[in-house]
């Protein structure tokens, strides 16, 4: 036997087990999501930043830098200030109403009654129905001539036919209407959040409170609500972010009217930037959402961290 050379033990290829490494596999799985966010959120956001300091319109697509002029313009505009105010009223109004409906809905759905499963399934409908369809139905309910709400109020003798409310024609009532519709859309989500939270409260704690002498209200507001607050706060962060940036209900139901009484940031940004083609002012309007939402989210997350139990 002739030995030509020492037999070489080849080390296993480094690439062969590369997917067994957690760090590699992890980045591999996360990559699509990051790419998605970068392309569809990051790039448009940077473009918005850029447009907001330019004089770009679709009629004059020049890229001239104008500094903060666009922001000065919109802040000076009383219509914009009204819109900003509306957005807060719309967001917090519909969130508070949605939370109240959610809390009571959850309490009702926690009780055993015949047909509970069916009701639980149905309650999700406002969330599942396409908002465009639902809003058409609501529009009919708020219609100045055919309103079923007014018909009921008149039939019950609460209002006279002559001064029946014009829901979408009166500025205050129009805001109330869009808030109600948005809360109606949001409350199934709130119910789910509350149900998840309340079910997670240990029975021993509730029993202890009962034996310690707490009645229904005290159990609810001194034990259950504080214990589920972190969960509810997370739901609220989502709700605020979604509502603050949303324009669908307003767009479909009132078009911001009457005379801008229900115009919100998203709607005005869309109208100015896309419909009217004034891209730079539209971008500036939309960017107003960023600092507000940033403050809200940071405040809520800090609160949640502190309340963690």
């Amino acid at each position: 036997m002739v030995t030509i050379g020492e037999s070489v033990i080849r080390p296993a290829s480094r690439l062969r087990f590369i997917l067994d490494r957690r760090d590699v596999l992890g980045s591999f799985f996360v990559a699509p999501a990051i790419l998605y966010v970068l392309l569809l959120v990051g790039v448009p956001f940077l473009m918005a930043l850029y447009y907001s300091v330019s004089a770009y319109t679709i009629y004059d697509p020049s890229w001239s830098f104008v500094g903060l002029e666009n922001f000065e313009d919109i802040i000076d505009d009383p219509v914009f200030r009204q819109t900003l105010y509306n957005t807060f009223i719309f967001t917090f109004g519909s969130q508070i109403l949605g939370l109240i409906l959610g809390k009571f809905g959850a309490l009702v759905l926690l009780r055993r009654f015949p047909g509970r499963g069916f009701v639980r399934a149905m309650i999700i409908l406002p969330w599942a129905v396409p908002i465009a369809l639902a809003t058409v139905a609501w529009q009919w309910m708020f219609d100045s001539l055919y309103s079923v709400i007014n018909w009921t109020l008149i039939a019950l003798g609460i209002v006279a036919r002559s001064d029946a409310p014009n829901w979408l024609g009166d500025p205050t009532l129009a805001m109330l209407s869009v808030i109600v519709v948005n809360a109606w859309r949001f409350f199934p989500f709130a119910i789910v959040i509350f149900l998840a939270g309340i079910t997670a409260v240990p029975q021993d704690v509730l029993d202890a409170a009962t034996v310690d002498g707490a009645g229904f209200w005290r159990r609810n507001y001194q034990i259950i609500v504080p214990m589920i607050l972190p969960i509810v706060a997370i739901g609220l962060v989502f709700g605020i972010v979604f509502t603050f940036t949303d324009l669908s209900v307003v767009f479909l139901m009132t078009m911001g009217g009457p005379v801008g009484a229900t115009s919100v940031l998203g709607f005005q940004g869309f109208q100015t930037g896309i419909v009217s083609g004034d891209v730079s002012h539209g971008a500036a309007i939309s960017l107003f959402m960023v600092p507000v939402l940033l403050v809200v989210v940071i405040a809520m997350l800090r609160f949640i961290r502190r309340r963690e139990i």
């Binding site: 240990p202 021993d204 704690v205 509730l206 029993d207 202890a208 409170a209 009962t210 034996v211 310690d212 002498g213 707490a214 009645g215 005290r218 001194q222 034990i223 504080p226 214990m227 309340r307 139990i309």
Partner: protein
């Protein structure tokens, strides 16, 4: 503080009976242990006493007053739960103060009582912490302080030691017992652990499938069990029971001795075939069968000290064993105690 009395408590869930007619009398200041296997209805019974469950029929009396229709808060009892049920979002101080706040006790009085209860249980230094920052033993004390702070008519404890490790359990047992004697509160203590029951109870009620099998002092329960269930449920290893014409014969493993250990007293002899021997350090337990009875019936013997260190009795051997007649227990064919020898 008050006596607790129940008459014929029945509780059915749908049609399944959980409690099947329990009448129990717990005098003022007594430490009563409800002992039984899991699912025997003892916890349900406790929840009925405090009002968390409503009995299907029967009456609950606390301090001589029928409380059937009173909500838990009006009954004045305190309950401590298996997992303690502390309020996680409150500090220890607020946990202990909660039962007083619901009673609308004056603020200064609350402060004083919280101080008193926390001193009593040695948790004064923990008042500003939250439950999750406490160890298991500390949580248990906080739960006990919260139960006692409003000086309840009766204290109900539902397996309070089951979440503690074995070492802590022994000291907590002692603590609860001493504490109960000091405060003198009527206590009903639910457990499935016979060591807790024997060590702590003034009296024990053995419960099985929703009925009370026997109520008695620990020594009555152990020495003179009312039926086969009590005989085999209490004691480790349990009492040996062998079928005999028209009934059963029972004897405790520690009374089943090598014949030469019995001097003079009237006794009954058995031929014992040893199958297995376990050395447990402080004791030696042997398993086997006795001649003339069912050969598959495992008989255990706890050997006397002379046999522990050295293995005189080995597997495979036959030995002459005996039981003093005074230690034999007879049960009739239904398993009830039939006579005392």
């Amino acid at each position: 503080m008050a006596a607790v009395l129940t008459r014929d408590i029945v509780k059915k869930f749908a049609d399944v009976p959980a409690v099947n007619g329990i009448s129990l009398n717990v005098p003022d200041g007594e430490f009563m242990v409800l002992l039984g296997p899991s699912g025997c209805g003892k916890t349900t019974f406790l929840r009925i006493i405090c009002g968390l469950e409503k009995q299907t029929s029967g009456e609950v009396l606390i301090g001589g007053e029928i409380v059937n229709d009173m909500p838990p808060r009006a009954r004045g009892v305190a309950m401590m739960f298996q997992s303690y049920g502390l309020y996680p979002h409150f500090t220890v101080r607020n946990n202990i103060a909660f039962p007083l706040r619901t009673q609308k006790v004056a603020r200064a009085e609350i402060g004083r009582k919280v101080e008193w209860a926390s001193q009593l249980l040695g948790i004064g230094h923990l008042l500003e912490r939250r439950p999750r920052q406490l160890s298991g033993g500390e949580r248990q004390r906080v739960a006990l302080a919260r139960a006692l702070v409003r000086e309840p008519t009766a204290l109900l404890l539902d397996e309070p030691l089951s979440n503690l490790d074995a070492k802590l359990r022994a000291s907590a047992r002692l603590e609860i017992k001493q504490f109960q004697q000091r405060v003198g509160v009527t206590t009903i203590y639910v457990t499935h652990d016979q060591v807790e029951a024997m060590g702590m109870g003034d009296r024990i009620a053995v419960i099985d499938r929703g009925i009370v099998r026997q109520v008695g002092t620990p020594s009555e329960i152990y020495d003179d069990p009312a039926d086969r269930f009590v005989a085999t449920f209490v004691g480790t290893p349990p009492m040996n029971i062998v079928a005999r014409s028209g009934g059963y014969l029972g004897f405790r493993p520690e009374n089943f001795l090598p014949r030469d250990m019995i001097n003079g007293e009237a006794s009954t002899e058995f031929q014992f075939r040893v199958d297995r021997s376990e050395y447990l350090g402080s004791e030696r337990i042997v398993y086997g069968a006795i001649e003339g009875f069912d050969p598959d019936q495992v008989i255990t013997a706890k050997l006397p000290p002379a046999h522990v260190a050295e293995e005189w009795i080995r597997p495979g051997e036959w030995h002459a064993f005996a039981v003093r007649n005074s230690a034999l227990r007879n049960f009739d064919k239904d398993g009830k105690r039939s006579s005392r020898l």
